[in-house]
Amino acid sequence: MNITLNNRPESIDNDQITISELLVLKNFTFKMLVIKVNGKLVKKDAYSGFKINNGDDVTVLHLVSGG
């Protein structure tokens, strides 16, 4: 399937993937993340159950301290 990940087109071998699986696949190893799918926030406790489908627009923000 094809998705958009952080504004870039991305091809993924599966027809469907959970957010947790996507994070492993794409090496997002940081713990402080904010994730949006099709404009809607998905909270951390839903990552393992939330399915990403063909055409979805996914944003993964990685937060670090400093300001």
Binding site: N6, M32, V34, L41, H62, V64, S65, G66, G67
Partner: protein, 194 residues
């Protein structure tokens, strides 16, 4: 646009700034200089010696509340601006009430968990609001790694990776670049508004 046209447009807008440390104090000053109409600034902290390496405060303000000090400093630059000060620790229960009428919100916290809290609260409660976030500005050099990226109504300014630590402190130049990039992004959003 001439500067007069820019000023006359900006005076109709309100910008909320969440945290007035390195990012928030410098971003607020930049917006004040170009004539933003109203700033809503929030922070619970007082000016500390260690803040003076990057934050827009002065030695004679040590120990004084940051929101009060910043208001004084901004008024010396531009007395016309309406500044609302909240001497408060922001949390998921007060952010919406404080910032719901702003045209843009600037995220200017230091801690990653506070950044996360603000972004998540705004995405849930104020989903249409433009939020300008600062991520990754510790250390020195490498200016070209600092960028601005847009994800719908979220704008990320910074290098997205340089985390502050004892060996990689936040310093005036890179913090200032990101703070001014946030202010510049606010202008872009507001001046392109129909």
């Amino acid at each position: 646009m001439t500067f007069e046209e820019i000023e006359s447009k900006l005076k109709n807008y309100t910008v909320g700034i969440a945290g007035v440390g390195g990012l928030g104090s410098n971003c607020a000053v930049a917006l004040a200089r170009v004539g933003i109409g109203k700033l809503i600034i929030s922070d619970f902290d007082v000016v500390n010696e260690s803040n003076l390496n990057r934050q827009y405060f002065f030695r004679d303000q040590l120990g004084q509340k940051k929101v009060k000090s910043l208001k004084e400093n901004i008024k010396r630059i531009n007395a016309e601006i309406n500044i609302i000060c909240n001497d408060i620790k922001l949390n998921e229960n007060n952010i919406v009430e404080i910032y719901k009428d702003c045209d843009v919100i600037v995220e200017a916290f230091d801690l990653a968990e506070m950044k996360k809290m603000l972004i998540e609260t705004c995405l849930m409660e104020l989903p249409e609001k433009p939020i300008v976030i600062g991520i990754g500005m510790a250390g020195f050099g490498n200016s070209n790694s600092i960028k601005c990226k847009q994800f719908e109504n979220l704008y990320i300014c910074g290098d997205e990776k340089s985390e502050v630590s004892d060996d990689n402190p936040p310093l005036a130049p890179r913090v200032g670049i990101v703070a001014n990039m946030q202010a510049n992004t606010v202008l872009e959003i507001l001046l392109n508004k129909k």
